[in-house]
Amino acid sequence: MTEMTYRDALNAAMLQEMDRDDSVFLLGEEVAEYDGAYKVSRGMLERYGERRVVDAPISELGFAGLCVGAAMAGLRPICEFMTFNFSILALDQVINGAAKMLYMSNGQIPVPIVFRGPTGAALQLSAQHSQACEVYYAHAPGVKLVVPGTPADAKGLLAAAIRDDDPVAVMEGELLYNVRGEVPDGEHVVPLGVADLKRSGGDVSIITHGKMIHVALQAAGQLAQDGIEADVLDLRSLRPLDVDAILATVARTNRAVYLEEGWPFAGVGAQVASLIQQEAFDDLDAPVARVTQADVPMPYAKNLEQLAKPGAKAVVEACRRVLYLG
């Protein structure tokens, strides 16, 4: 194990995979000479040259499509979006292209591509730069989606995504890049579809993904001061979704709160709540609660932004509510 930042863990995953497979290349805005807008690709141009580490023009639709086309031809592109906010420009190529190609072609044309970059809000970046994009991707059959919340998972899930033969979106967190953690040395691959119980409690389940695991853990710490022990289940992968792990934690605690950074309407929590009521109805002692961003575009003003973001306080309240503690 080595302690490193989330940023360096992502970098390590790309080196690990690019060293072993020449068909993997990195293409995106500022990834080469600039070392990445968030320095995730630091040193990669020097190591692999401009054939495999490529600065793209600001043409999200175009370069995402180019990467999908390269994947159709059997290469394994890592297509970096400076943020997933900008990938909304590219969604035609993701949804109509990458996600559907294998199906439309009756299995003849796999698209082994990774789309990666940060999702969600950072600090005072305002409406257009602060949104969680998970559901845009998870909605479409044909796409896989992982959301690492720790440096170890960042390395392991990105490596798995690169090796996967399907389009995989890897959604990172701008505020996570400097987070440090222990990361396994050498080859490290975390399989898709496996959740991770980040904290074992037993009284209530906080189910979440990505950056929000840190908010969940903070809330769990506060609840512990009142003698309430929470499970914190990090889904890590939204599609495939580790339903067994969700059902297991609910069976243990009988109470569930879904925490996510995105908006409530048709959110990840809506899907998970639906699953729980379908398949674990008899385990529930309370309705599933959801904590999301306020249902508004992200405001700029610091105080409003704080109000709009899902925080530990809201999670604690939701946990108390499902425990009928008022």
Binding site: G62, G69, D165, D166, L241
Partner: protein, 365 residues
């Protein structure tokens, strides 16, 4: 070349009696090929009318010279990607009329197993990468195919077709720019039939088609898309230039669509006059143009023409019979090919299927 058409010899080997360097056999082959495309589309039209084909169906009738003349000169390992008016292009690249027709019928022997339909014909084994339904969506994909060729150091090229309306999409502009930056081995071909669905190009552009690539430093060319001999020679030479490292090129191929935009659109409609369509059909039919040149040069007899046409009709009738007798896809395959890799952890399908499989003791949770 598929359909029994032999590739013409390189320039400079005209045999006696040919036109523009094409031998008699080569011209017969091109004529036969275009007749095949015409009859195929007519057969599709017929099948659509009796409900054998559903959904959208866009016919290529009137534009056959481009399939024969642009795809014909390519190597079998070159790549073609295109939009949704692609039946004859698929056949030109090597998909059999049977496999193409079965796809239109939504049958299991279709080149996309019945999952794609008229707009999504695929067969990468012959270098045909679809068949795409979003106007302009195939253009970045084509750039990506060309990127992969360059990445691997190959000497293939990619031919990327689009309709005239696609040049107003951002995907087109972005792809041209990237192809120029990276000098990709790709030829962008606009099948300029004058109308994006029912909107004349002149109503949605203040510049001429040929000027559209100049801002990106990509050479532009205009060819007569109704003259198969001109197209063939032009693309034969251009393909070799691009193969040799000349970077991307842009071709405005002037053509005309003799049918409506799709089967649900009348032939003339509100946006173009019957007179215009009739005059184009009379004066600019690519098959008639070649036929008449061959007649005039004494290279074709009415009997030979009839024989080619009979053969084309026979192949298309066979294709339709084959399609009609091919089974519909097995309902058990509904979920096949959504993902290439279905692991044993986690659910990929959220509609209850994986839950049912898990409850039955299968994988999928």
């Amino acid at each position: 070349m598929p359909g029994g058409v032999g590739a013409p010899e390189a320039e400079g080997s005209p045999d006696e009696g040919g036109i523009a360097g094409f031998s008699r056999e080569e011209m017969h082959a091109l004529l036969a090929e275009m007749l095949l495309y015409r009859r195929f589309e007519e057969k599709a039209e017929e099948a659509y009318a009796i409900g054998k084909i559903g959904g959208f169906c866009h016919l290529h009738i009137g534009q056959e010279a481009l399939s024969a003349g642009a795809i014909g000169p390519l190597r079998s390992d070159d790549q073609v990607i295109t939009a949704y008016r692609e039946h004859t292009q698929a056949i030109a690249k090597g998909i059999s009329p049977r496999a193409a027709m079965a796809e239109l019928f939504g049958r299991v022997d279709g080149c996309s197993g019945g999952r794609g339909g008229s707009m999504h014909l695929f067969d990468p084994s012959v270098g045909f990468y679809g068949g795409h339904g979003i106007v302009g969506g195939q253009i970045p994909l084509g750039a990506g195919l060309a990127w992969a060729i360059r990445y691997r150091g190959g000497d293939q090229i990619c031919l990327c077709f689009m309709g005239d309306a696609a040049v107003n999409q951002g995907a087109f502009l972005e792809s041209l720019n990237m192809s120029a930056i990276w000098q990709l081995p790709i030829i962008y071909v606009v099948e300029n039939n004058g109308y994006g669905m029912g909107t004349a190009f002149s109503r949605v552009s203040v510049t001429e088609m040929e000027s559209r690539s100049g801002a990106y430093g990509i050479p532009a060319h205009t060819v007569d898309g109704q003259d198969v001999l001109e197209c063939y020679r032009f693309f034969e030479a251009l393909a070799e230039e691009v193969r040799g490292g000349d970077g991307p090129h842009f071709v405005n191929a002037v053509t005309y669509r003799f049918r409506g935009h799709s089967m649900s659109d009348p032939v003339s409609g509100t946006y173009r006059s019957r007179k215009e369509v009739e005059s184009q059909k009379r004066e600019r039919d690519p098959i008639s143009l070649l036929r008449d040149r061959m007649f005039e040069a004494g290279l074709l007899t009415p009997e030979e023409l009839q024989a080619h046409d009979d053969r084309a009709r026979e192949l298309c009738a066979d294709a339709a019979d084959f399609a009609d007798s091919s089974p519909t896809p097995d309902p058990a395959t509904l979920y096949d090919h959504v993902y290439a890799e279905v692991g044993d952890r986690g659910r990929l399908f959220l509609d209850g299927r994986d839950a049912a499989r898990a409850a039955a003791g299968g994988a999928g949770r």
